[in-house]
């Protein structure tokens, strides 16, 4: 058995339609982030050259840094798509960290909606630019 990034994002969207409690909002943020992370990672791996890691540490921070600092040509439209992905992944990991680690902070429906919507668009854009 295995799961695809799309299945993780679909799972977040499906959970969202029936969420009633904060633990469920937290689960939506978490699934949405991981779906987006894997989709963005596949996008990055398919670039002509990996982006620059810089001072980033850990797998998640490094992917965000690499997407922000692509080394492909700026004439390649994926260059700026990569930077946009980095920006959005940054907001998703913030929500995920709050959802999974900071259980004394509030996670509301708005945050769950934003996370799932952002992850949905990351799926959409990474698929769109994967074939272009």
């Amino acid at each position: 058995m295995s799961s695809s990034p799309l299945e993780l994002v679909d799972c977040a969207l499906s959970l969202l339609s029936d969420t009633r409690s904060e633990p469920q909002y937290r689960t939506v943020c978490s699934r949405a982030y991981y779906g987006a992370f894997h989709a963005a990672n596949s996008f990055h791996n398919a670039l002509p050259a990996p982006g620059t890691v810089g001072a980033a540490r850990g797998r998640h921070e490094q992917l965000i840094a690499q997407l922000a600092n692509p080394t492909c040509s700026k004439r390649n439209e994926k260059y700026f798509v990569s930077q946009a992905l980095s920006k959005i992944l940054g907001t998703l990991i913030d929500a995920r960290v709050r959802a999974d680690y900071l259980i004394d902070t509030d996670i509301d429906l708005g945050m769950a909606v934003r996370s799932s919507e952002s992850a949905r668009v990351i799926m959409l854009k990474t698929s769109e630019f994967a074939v272009n």
């Binding site: 810089g54 001072a55 922000a68 798509v81 960290v97 680690y101 708005g110 934003r114």
Partner: protein
Amino acid sequence: MKAIARQKNGLLFDEINALQATGRHYLDSTAINPLVRRWRALGHEIDALMKVDTCSAWELVGAWKGLAGDVASTEEAFANSARLGNSGTNRINWMVNRLNLGLFSAAQALYAEVGKAEDGYFTEVLEEGYCSGAIQQAAKFIKRAEEMHIKGNVNLTNEIIKANAILQVAGFSDARIAQHLDVAGTVLRRHRIRPDGTLRTTAALSDFNGVTYAFKVPVSAESAFDMNIELAKEEDRAGIDKHIAFDVVFEPLAS
């Protein structure tokens, strides 16, 4: 029931705030609709105040022009007001309007003047200073306020200290943040969207350490993505060096 006496300029500021609360875009002053009619009527009332209290009237003109996203006229009006003296609020409202117009470097310059703990507005303007990206400056003011036993909003103070710790380690200055935010301001003005930003500090050593300035934009998630591509291109043109410790993002309003 007894009527409450209020200064005329206070009522005019209430109307400016009420007009601003009607939407997230700048008013299109060339349009013909009830909001613009209210905005024009307000202009006449402010004009009538010129002979009575010129300093406050110019301050009101600045805030009134700011509603329409008119950068040059807003700056000119507030500069006129400041030349005439201190109305008590004109420099603070100038800073607020610079934030509303996406002029973050300029807002930071005013925050450095008005945010001092010694000047009596420390608590009132701490959030604006934070929103201008003057994190290091705000942290210095907080330290001085603590020495003076002035207490501000605890959550906000903690957020600023947390953000400052990450940015200091990365060697990220307020000026560099402002340069980055000014670029976002340019993009937002192009879309005629009034900036509405929040700073988020993520401090999870194993996952991510960084400060993100997220601007809410009243568009779909797809359009927000396209605006982020536009922002990335604008940052590239402005020569912004990307660093993991700080980034700016456009985020759709939660539907």
